[in-house]
C-alpha cells in the first residue's frame, strides 16, 4: 500500500478532461440523452395532453 501510494505521488497528475469532451466521447450517454429528451418533451408530454381531452358524452 505504501509503495503504491508513493508511486501515485511521483506520477505526473493526469490532465483533467473537460466535461464536454467526456460527454461527446461517450456514445452511450449521448444515446441515453438522445432518446430520453424527445421521449419526455415530445411523446410523454403530448400523450398526457391527449389523455386530458374530455371524452364526448
Amino acid at each position: 500500500m505504501v509503495e503504491n501510494a508513493g508511486t501515485e505521488q511521483s506520477a505526473a497528475p493526469a490532465e483533467r478532461i473537460p466535461f464536454m469532451q467526456r460527454l461527446l466521447d461517450n456514445p452511450f450517454l449521448l444515446l441515453f440523452l438522445g432518446v430520453v429528451i424527445p421521449t419526455v418533451i415530445y411523446i410523454l408530454w403530448g400523450v398526457m395532453e391527449i389523455a386530458q381531452i374530455p371524452l364526448m358524452k
Binding site: M20, L30, L31, I41
Partner: protein
Amino acid sequence: MANTAVGTGVIGTLATKFRTCPATGLQVDLAAQRLIKANAVAAVVFLAIGGLFGLMVALTRWPAVHLLSSDMFYLVLTAHGLDVLLLWIIFFEMAVLYFASAVILSSRIAAPRWGWVAFALMVVGGVMTNVAVLQGDSSVMFTSYPPLQAQPHFYLGLILFAVGALIGCFIFLGTLVIAKEEKTYEGSIPLVTFGALTACIIAVFTIASGAIILIPTFLWSVGYISNIDTLTYKLVWWAMGHSSQQINVSAHVAIWYLIAAVTVGAKPLSEKVSRTAFLMYILFLQLASAHHLLVEPGLSSEWKIVNTSYMMYLAVMGSMIHGMTVPGSIEAAQRKNGFTRGVFEWLRKAPWSNPAFSGMFLSLVMFGFLGGISGVVLGTEQLNIMMHNTLYVPGHFHGTVVAGTTLAFMAVTYLVVPLIFQREIIWPKLAKWQPYLFGLGVAGISLFMMGAGTLGVSRRHWDNAFTDALLPYNYPDVASLMMGLNGLSAIMAATGGALYVVIVVGSILFGKKVDATNAVSALGPMPKKVVQEAVSKYGSAGTWHLPGTYVLVAIFFGSFVLYYFVNWKYLSELWPMQ
C-alpha cells in the same frame, strides 16, 4: 495490385480478413465491405422504383397530363413515399453507418452475421410492404393515419424493416466499442463517424417510436385491437415519420464533411464547434416532429411552441453552424492548396467536374436555401396555418430529403464505387453532369410545389380542378402553371436519377478495377496522407481567414430574414388587423 491484396491480418486482437485501401491507406474489413455493398445496392434498387413512382405522381398532378386514375394515384403516391422516404434512405444509411465505423476507424465490424440478419429483415420487410401497396388495398399514404386501414402485411413489413434497421444501429455501436477496445484510433472518433453516431442515435429513437405505434396498429389491422386513437397515432407516428428524416440530415451532413475531406483535403474548422452542432441535433432535432401537429386542437400551444420553436431553433442553429463550417472548411483547404486570390478563387477553382464535389456542394446550398429556410417557416406555429397540408409541405421536404439528402447520397456514391466496390465510374463525362441535372430538377420541384402551396393548392389530391366536388372551387390560374413547371422539373430530376442508377449499376458491373495505379484518376488528386488525415483523424483546420464563406453566410442570413418576414407580412394580409 500489391497494396490492394486481400489478406488475413490482425485488426485489434482478432484475425480478420481485410485489405488496404490504395487511396486512403485505411484497413477495410471485408465483412463490412460486403455489408456496405449489399445495403447500397438495395438502396439504389428502391430509389429506382420509388423515383419512377414519384415521376408518375408529378405527371398526374400536372393538369394538362393528369396521367393516372384516382385509385392508381393514391396507390402510387403511397409506394413513392415508402420507397424513397424510408427504403432508399435507410438502406443507404446502413451502408453509411458500416462505412463510418468499420472503414473509417479501420476496425473489424461487430457481429457481421447479425448484419446479414438485419439486411434480410429489411429486404423482406421492404418487399412485403411494397407488395401490400401494389395489391391495391393499402393506399393509405406514407402516414397511414387511422381510421384508414391497410392490409396487415403492410404494417408487418414496416415492423420487420424497422427491426432490421435497429439491429444495424447496434452493430454500428458495437463496432465503435470494438474500435475503442482494440485501439484502432486514438483520442476521439473522427468527425464523420461522430456525425454517423448522431444519425444512429436519432435512428434508435425513430425506430423505437415506430415500433410503439406500428405494433398496435398491426394488431388493429388483424382485429385484436378494436380502435386506434387517431391523435395519439399521429403524435407517436410522427416521432418516427419526421425523425426518420432527421437521421438523413445527420447522415448527409457527415457525408458533406467526408466528401470535402476526400476531394479537397478539408479538415473541420473547429472539431469542438462541429461536434457541438451535432450534439444540438442529438438533443433537439427529433422535437421538430411536432410541426406536423401544429393545427391539432387537442394539443396545447405550450407543447407546440416548446417543441417547434424553442427547441427546434437550437437544432436549426446546429444546421446553420454546419452550413458555415462545411464551406468554411473547404475554403480553408482550398486556400492551403494555393487558391488564395481574391474572395472566391477557392470556390471558382474547386473540383466542380468531380460529381462527388459538385453533388455535395449543390446539396449543401439547396438544403440550406430551400429546405432549411422553409422548414423554419413551417415550424412557426402562426405561419404554419397558411401552408399546413398544402403542397408547400412536400415542396419543403423535397428541398431537405431530395435536394439535401438524396443528392448528398448520390454524390458520395461516386466515392463509394471506387473505394468499396473498387470500380472506376463509367461514362465520367455523363457522371459530371448528373448532379447538376438532378439538382436543378429537384430545385424546380421544391420551388414550384412551394409556390403552388402558397397559392393554397392542397397536397395529396388527385384532382386540382375539383371536378367531383359539390361546391366548385378553382385555384388561381398561376397554380396550374406551377404544377406544369413542377411536372417538367420532375422529368428533369427523373432523368438525372435514371442517369445515376445507370452509371452506378454500369460502373459496378463493367467499371475498370481500381488499384494503386488508377486510384488517383478514380478519386481525385488529393494525396493519400492528406485524405487519411482529413477523414480519419481528429483535428481542426486551424484558420478562420475565410472571407468567401463570410460573404456566403451573409447572403444566406439576408435571404432567411427576408423570407421569414415576408411570410409574416402574408399572414397579416390573411387576417387583417382592424
